[in-house]
């Protein structure tokens, strides 16, 4: 039995290797596409009330579950929703989670993910740029990604404000 298991493990090795090559950003990669064709109107309305409605493909399902279960203390703000609305929005987020996230991690902040950090390193953006009044915070995607609200982060449509 032990031998058989060993054999199986060896046989599976190439598969594991393949998965690893797919392991961009240590497995913390955003999804493609970020947004499904069919979007949920409640997600758009509720999440978009205080900030852009961040696309579900930006985080894995576990992140969305954690985030949606703690909305009464949402980054220092009470953003609580009615139970049925919460359920519908969570379902939409979870169903359309990042399809390229392989890691077990589930950060609450999009800016904590490895892909975000890699794309926004100091070699690209000097630390003081983030502090500009026109940008304020790395959570303010649309300050530079003009079409961020439509989940369009194409680098040809970036304009860093003064």
């Amino acid at each position: 039995m032990k031998k058989l298991l060993m054999l199986m493990a060896v046989a599976l090795l190439p598969l594991t290797a393949l998965a690893d090559s797919d392991n961009k950003y240590g497995g913390e990669n955003r999804g493609k596409p970020l947004l499904p064709k069919q979007i949920n109107a409640k997600w758009q309305e509720e999440c978009g009330a205080c900030h852009i409605a961040y696309a579900p493909g930006l985080l894995p399902a576990d992140s969305w579950r954690k985030l949606m279960s703690g909305l009464d203390q949402h980054f220092g703000t009470d953003a609580a929703l009615a139970t049925n609305e919460n359920r519908a929005i969570t379902e939409f987020l979870v169903k359309n989670e990042s399809n390229r996230w392989r890691a077990k991690s589930a950060p609450l902040r999009i800016t904590e993910s490895a892909w975000f950090k890699a794309k926004h390193g100091t070699h690209e953006i000097a630390p003081d740029v983030w502090k500009r009044a026109s940008i304020k915070s790395p959570a303010n995607c649309q300050a530079c990604h003009l079409e961020a609200a439509q989940a369009d982060f194409n680098e040809h449509r970036i304009k860093i404000p003064k």
């Binding site: 205080c50 900030h51 980054f75 220092g76 009470d78 609580a80």
Partner: protein, 136 residues
């Protein structure tokens, strides 16, 4: 007896007919807070737009309602943290305000918790709505 009954019925329907347009002009959500305020406090008299205005600008810690909604509630506001644009609070400038009871309750709950770290009373909510309605 029968006659007075009929007369008072006519009188009542006359009052109803005449007061109906006036009632329609009132904010129904404000009226439901009036009922809640009576429940909350048997000595409740009325809402006050002056008190509502003072409530709007009163700071609790770093925040007041005006921190995001600005002092001029006919103007656009700006979210204190995210910087997102907020549509005007005064129904005279934004007719969608105070038109959906569930939405009003949702935001009172959230914002009272954020600013005051507690729920608002029906008196406070009513004063506040009365203030927003008074700004023409």
């Amino acid at each position: 007896m029968k006659k007075t009954g009929i007369i008072s019925a006519i009188a009542l329907s006359a009052i109803f007919t005449f007061s109906a347009p006036l009632m329609a002009a009132e904010n129904t959500i404000l009226e439901s807070y009036r009922a809640a305020a009576r429940q909350e406090n048997p000595a409740f008299k009325d809402f006050s737009s002056t008190r509502g205005q003072a409530f709007h600008t009163a700071k609790s810690g770093d925040l007041s309602c005006a921190s995001c909604h600005t002092e001029n509630i006919k103007a656009h506001g700006k979210h204190a943290t995210t910087g997102k644009d907020i549509l005007p609070l005064a129904p005279s400038a934004n007719p969608d305000r105070f038109a959906d009871a569930a939405k009003v309750e949702k935001w009172f709950k959230r914002n009272c918790n954020d600013v005051l770290k507690r729920a608002c009373t029906a008196q406070e909510k009513g004063d506040f709505i009365a203030y927003t309605l008074s700004v023409k």
